[in-house]
C-alpha cells in the first residue's frame, strides 16, 4: 500500500496496448493540441476538453478527408481537418480558431444533418450560459442565444442538435434545466415568462408564454432545484432522451411525449455521463461512484455494474465497430501488454462507403430502436470508459450477463429498508416473455455445452470462429450484425474469466450463474420492474410534497433503480490502461481509431488493430484494403520496436 510520491511516473504511460482483437497504438503524428504549446500549465479547474466530429458529405472527394474536428481548451476553440490515423495536420493551420474573453467554451456539437461540403453548423455552449452558433467553414455565420443570460445564467453542460433536425437543438445547464431552442428564432429582449406544460415525478416542463414564438420553445426542469444536469443523450433512433444529473439519477424520457419512461439511481454520488448502446436497448452511465452502470431500457432496471476505474467516470461510449470476436486462448485475458495472443485475429466491420460511417453510420440503424429485442443468443457489446483516474477501460458485455435477474442475497437487514417488492416475490405469468427468455437461455446453454466440448481443440475452434466473424463482417445492418453473432465460439471457463463477476460473498457468483439459466426468474424480474413503474407512475403529477420513493435514497436501495452491490452482476474491465498524466475528458470511437482528450488540452488518436500507419505503410493504409490477412506483421514489427 505504499504511496508513490511521484504518483505513478511517466514510465507507465501506455502508447500501445493489446486486446483480444489486436494492438491499439497511439498515433503520435495525429496528436492535436493548441498550435503554440507554451503556457500549457494551469488546467486546474478549467472546463473539460471535449471533442466533436462532423463528416462533410462530399462524394467528389475520393480521399475521404471530409472530417472536421472541434475541441475546446481553456478560453479557446479549435476546428481542424481530421485525418484519423492517416496523416498529421499542421497545427498552425486550423480551419477555424476562436478566443473568447470572460467565458470558456464548455461543449459543442456539429449538425451532421445539415452539413454540406462547404458548411458545418457548430453549436458552442459557454461557462457563463450563452450559446453560439457558428460555421467554421463558411465563417460568416454567428448567432448568439441567451446572450444577455436572461434565460439561464449558469454553465452550459451539454449541447446537442435534435437528431435529424435542421434547426432544433437542446441545451442543458448546471442550474438543472434543459431548453429546446430553434436556431431561427430570437431569444427576446426580456426574460421569458413560462407556463406549465407538463409535469411528472421529479421533472416539470414549461413553455414560453408569449404572443410570438420565441426561444426557448420548452424548458425542462429536472430533479431538485439547482441540481446540475451533467449530460444528456438521444437514443440512436432519436425518440428517447436520457438525462443524467448531479442528484445521482438517470432519467429516460420519451422525447416527443415528454413522458418519463424510466429511471435509475447511482450507487452513490452524481451521474456524470451517459450513452446508449448502438441498438438502443441499454443505457450506460458513469459517475462519482467510480462505476459504470448498465440500465436496460426494456426491463427498466439496472442490470449490471462495471468496477475498474479508480476515480470518477467522465465519459462512457459504446464502440459500434467492435461488437464481437472469437477468443480461443483461455490464458489470454488481454490485460498484459507483453502478452501476444496465440490465436489473435481481427475483424472489422468495414463498410464500402466511408461516408456512411461515423455518426451517420450509427444513425442509419435507427430502425432497430424501440422494437422488441429479437436477438437470440449473446450479443456482445464493446463499451469504453475514461475517467479522472487518467485510465481507459474497455468492457465486453454479453447479453447473458445482462439478462441475469436481480439476485436478492439473503441478508438480515435486507427486508427492513425497502417496502417495495424485490425480485422473487412476483410469480411469472407473462407467457410470451417467458418463452422468449426460456428460448434464449436454452440456446445459450446449448452453445455453452458445445463450447465446452470444443475446449480441448484450440485450433479448431479458432478456425470456426474466424469464419463466423468473416461472415458477420459482411453484414451491414448493425442489428443483423448483433443478431448474427452467436455464442458458438465462447467457452464456459473462458467466459468466466473475462466477464468475471466479483461478487462480494464467496460462492455468490456460482449461484448467480445457475440462476442465469432460469427463464422464470427473468420474467419475474420483468414483472417486478413493471410494478415499480406503476408505483412511480401513480406519483406522476402528484404534489412535490408527497413523499416519493425517488426522494429517499434509502428506499431506492435494493430496487430495480438501485440494486444492492451484491444483487447485480459486477463486471471487470477487459483492459484498463493509463493513457495520460491528466484526467481524461473525452472518448469517441471511430471506424479506424478511437479518440481521447485530456484535461491538459491534448487530443490523441489511437489506431485500431491493423490501422496503424508506419512510415512505409501510409499509401496502403490510405486505400485501406481489408486487413484480415496482414495485421500480424504490423503488430510484430511494432512490438519489436517497442521492446
Amino acid at each position: 500500500m505504499a504511496v508513490q510520491l511521484d504518483g505513478g511516473g511517466k514510465e507507465d504511460l501506455k502508447t500501445q496496448f493489446v486486446t483480444r482483437e489486436g494492438t491499439y497504438k497511439l498515433m503520435t503524428l495525429s496528436e492535436y493540441s493548441r498550435p503554440n504549446r507554451v503556457g500549457y500549465t494551469n488546467s486546474q479547474g478549467s472546463a473539460s476538453v471535449r471533442v466533436s466530429f462532423v463528416t462533410l458529405p462530399d462524394p467528389t472527394d475520393p480521399t475521404g478527408l471530409g472530417d472536421r474536428m472541434c475541441f475546446n481548451f481553456g478560453k479557446e476553440l479549435y476546428v481542424y481537418v481530421y485525418r484519423g490515423v492517416k496523416k498529421a495536420v499542421d497545427l498552425n493551420k486550423p480551419v477555424d480558431k476562436k478566443l473568447y474573453k470572460g467565458t470558456n467554451p464548455t461543449c459543442h456539437n456539429f449538425n451532421q444533418t445539415t452539413a454540406t461540403a462547404d458548411s458545418a453548423p457548430l453549436l458552442v455552449g459557454f461557462s457563463t450560459g450563452q450559446i453560439q452558433l457558428i460555421d467554421p467553414i463558411k465563417k460568416e455565420l454567428s448567432k448568439l442565444y441567451n446572450e444577455d443570460r436572461l434565460i439561464d445564467k449558469s454553465k452550459v453542460t451539454c449541447i446537442k442538435w435534435v437528431p435529424g433536425s435542421n434547426n432544433l437543438f437542446l441545451v442543458s445547464h448546471s442550474s438543472g434545466q434543459l431548453y429546446l431552442y430553434n436556431e431561427e428564432l430570437l431569444c427576446g429582449t426580456t426574460a421569458p415568462h413560462y407556463q406549465s406544460f407538463k409535469s411528472g415525478d421529479g421533472y416539470a416542463i414549461y413553455t414560453c408564454k408569449t404572443k410570438s414564438t420565441r426561444n426557448p420553445l420548452y424548458r425542462w426542469v429536472i430533479g431538485a432545484e439547482g441540481c446540475c444536469i451533467n449530460e444528456f443523450a438521444f437514443s440512436p433512433c432519436g425518440s428517447n432522451l436520457a438525462v443524467v444529473s448531479q442528484d445521482g439519477f438517470l432519467r429516460v424520457f420519451q422525447y416527443n411525449t415528454m413522458e418519463l419512461v424510466g429511471s435509475a439511481r447511482s450507487y452513490f454520488g452524481g451521474f456524470l455521463c451517459v450513452c446508449w448502446s448502438p441498438d438502443g436497448r441499454y443505457v450506460v452511465v458513469g459517475g462519482e461512484d467510480d462505476l459504470v452502470t448498465i440500465w436496460s431500457f426494456h426491463e427498466k432496471r439496472v442490470v449490471a455494474r462495471g468496477q475498474g476505474h479508480h476515480s470518477w467516470v467522465s465519459v462512457v461510449a459504446f464502440d459500434p465497430y467492435t461488437t464481437s470476436y472469437g477468443d480461443h486462448d483461455p490464458d489470454f485475458s488481454g490485460s498484459d501488454d507483453e502478452t501476444l495472443p496465440h490465436n489473435n485475429h481481427n475483424h472489422y466491420h468495414e463498410k464500402a462507403n466511408r461516408l456512411s460511417t461515423t455518426s451517420q453510420g450509427i444513425h442509419s440503424n435507427r430502425n432497430s430502436c424501440g422494437s422488441e429485442l429479437r436477438v437470440s443468443g449473446g450479443t456482445c457489446y464493446r463499451l469504453g470508459s475514461v475517467s479522472q483516474d487518467t485510465q481507459l477501460c474497455l468492457w465486453d458485455i454479453t447479453e447473458d450477463v445482462l439478462r441475469q435477474p436481480m439476485c436478492a442475497k439473503q441478508r438480515p437487514s435486507a427486508a427492513g429498508s425497502s417496502t417495495l417488492p424485490t425480485s422473487g416475490t412476483v410469480n411469472s405469468g407473462n407467457g410470451s416473455t417467458t418463452n422468449h427468455h426460456l428460448n434464449n437461455s436454452k440456446h445459450n446453454n446449448l452453445n455453452n455445452i458445445n463450447c465446452k466440448e470444443n475446449a480441448s481443440g484450440n485450433n479448431d475452434s479458432s478456425n470456426n470462429s474466424m469464419s463466423t466473424n468473416t461472415a458477420v463482417s459482411t453484414v451491414n445492418s448493425l442489428t443483423q450484425r448483433l443478431a448474427g453473432l452467436g455464442f458458438g465460439e465462447r467457452k464456459g471457463d473462458n467466459h468466466k474469466r473475462n466477464f468475471s463477476l466479483t461478487m462480494r460473498g464467496s460462492g455468490a457468483s456460482n449461484s448467480t450463474i445457475i440462476q442465469n439459466s432460469s427463464g422464470d426468474k427473468a420474467t419475474t424480474n420483468l414483472n417486478t420492474s413493471s410494478n415499480l413503474n406503476s408505483v412511480s407512475g401513480s406519483l406522476v403529477g402528484a404534489n412535490k410534497k408527497v413523499s416519493s420513493v425517488m426522494d429517499d435514497p434509502m428506499r431506492l436501495i435494493g430496487t430495480a433503480w438501485c440494486p444492492r452491490f451484491d444483487e447485480c452482476p459486477v463486471l471487470e474491465p477487459l483492459v484498463c490502461k493509463k493513457l495520460a498524466h491528466e484526467r481524461l475528458t473525452e472518448l469517441v470511437f471511430r471506424e479506424d481509431c478511437f479518440v481521447t482528450a485530456c484535461q491538459d488540452g491534448y487530443v490523441y488518436t489511437w489506431a485500431r488493430p491493423g490501422h496503424m500507419v508506419g512510415p512505409l505503410t501510409i499509401s496502403s493504409t490510405l486505400h485501406r484494403p481489408h486487413h484480415h490477412s496482414n495485421p500480424y506483421t504490423n503488430i510484430n514489427s511494432l512490438r519489436s520496436n517497442d521492446l
Binding site: M1, A2, V3, Q4, L5, D6, G7, G8, S43, Q44, G45, S174, G248, Y267, F268, G269, G270, E288, D289, D290, Q307, H309, H310, S311, W312, Q388, D389, T390, P412, S413, S417, R504, G505, S506, P553, M554, I557, G558, R564, F565, H581, E582, R583, Q599
Partner: protein
Amino acid sequence: MGANISQLERDIGSDQFPPNEHYFGLVNFGNTCYSNSVLQALYFCRPFREKVLEYKARNKRTKETLLTCLADLFYSIATQKKKVGSIAPKKFIARLRKEKAERSQSKPTGGKCGAGDAGSPPEPTWVHEIFQGILTSETRCLNCETVSSKDEDFFDLQVDVDQNTSITHCLRCFSNTETLCSDNKFKCDHCSSYQEAQKRMRVKKLPMILALHLKRFKYVEQYNRHIKVSHRVVFPLELRLFNTSDDAVNPDRLYDLVAVVIHCGSGPNRGHYISIVKSHGFWLLFDDDMVDKIDASTIEDFYGLTSDIQKSSETGYILFYQSIDCN
C-alpha cells in the same frame, strides 16, 4: 471584518437564514487554526453537536475537562443573539494546550481525539455511538489455511492517498489483501508458529459519522522529513463503502459529506487549516474568524493537484461523512 459578516448574511439572504443556526468564526490565538478548523467541522456534525449540548445541559459544575470546555464553547455559539460573528475559544485552547503538554503527544486532530478521550470512561459513550465503527481483520495462514478474524474499534479511518484517485478507491485499497512475510510474519495459533499469511481489513460496523483521515503527510527518508502529498483525491458529496465485510450489519449505509478539514500550504510544519461545512443545504467556509458562503462547485478546488511538482496546495485532509439514516 464587520463588512464580511454582514456580507455573509447578505449572501445567505435574511429570509433564507436558517432559524436557530449560528455561523461564528473562531479567533486564532496563534497556530490554533488546526483546532479551529476541527471544532467547526465537529460543530456541524449535527449528532455530535446535539450530544455535546445535551452533555452541557446535564453536567453542571463539574471539574474542568476538555469536554466541559468544548461544551461551553458549543453552548456559547448556539446561544448567541447574533446570527453571525466571531468568538474566541479562549478556555478551550488553554485547556487543550494544558492537556497537550501533560500528555506530550501532539496530533493535528488533537481537538477531536482529546474531546473523545477526555470524557470517555471505559464503557461506550455517545462518542462511541457517533464515531465508533468496527474493523474486522481477517488473516489466512498460508501454511494451514486457517482463517482467523479479529475485530477492532475505530473512530476514524486513516487512508493512504494515490494520485488521480477518488476517496472510494483509497478506501478500497485500504482493504486490499496484504501478505505478511519475512520480518512481519503472522503468529498462527493453529500452527503454533510464525507463518506467512494474508491479511485484509474490512469494515464490519459502519459508524454513524465516518471520519476519513487522508494520509497527506508522508515521511520521506530521502529528505529525512515529512512532506505533503498533494495528490488529487476526489471526494463525492455522497458515499457508500465497498470495503465492508461479508457479515457487515448495514453495508448499504449511505453517507452525506457534512464537513471537510482542509490543509493549505506546502508542508506539515507550515501552512494553515480551514474547514468547509454543509449546513441546511448550503456550504460555508470557515477560515478562523472569517465565515463565507461558498458554492458547492468550489469544493473541487480542494481535491488536490494533478501535477507532481511540489508546491502549495489546498487539499481535503479530514472528511466527515454522516449517515443519512441518523436524522
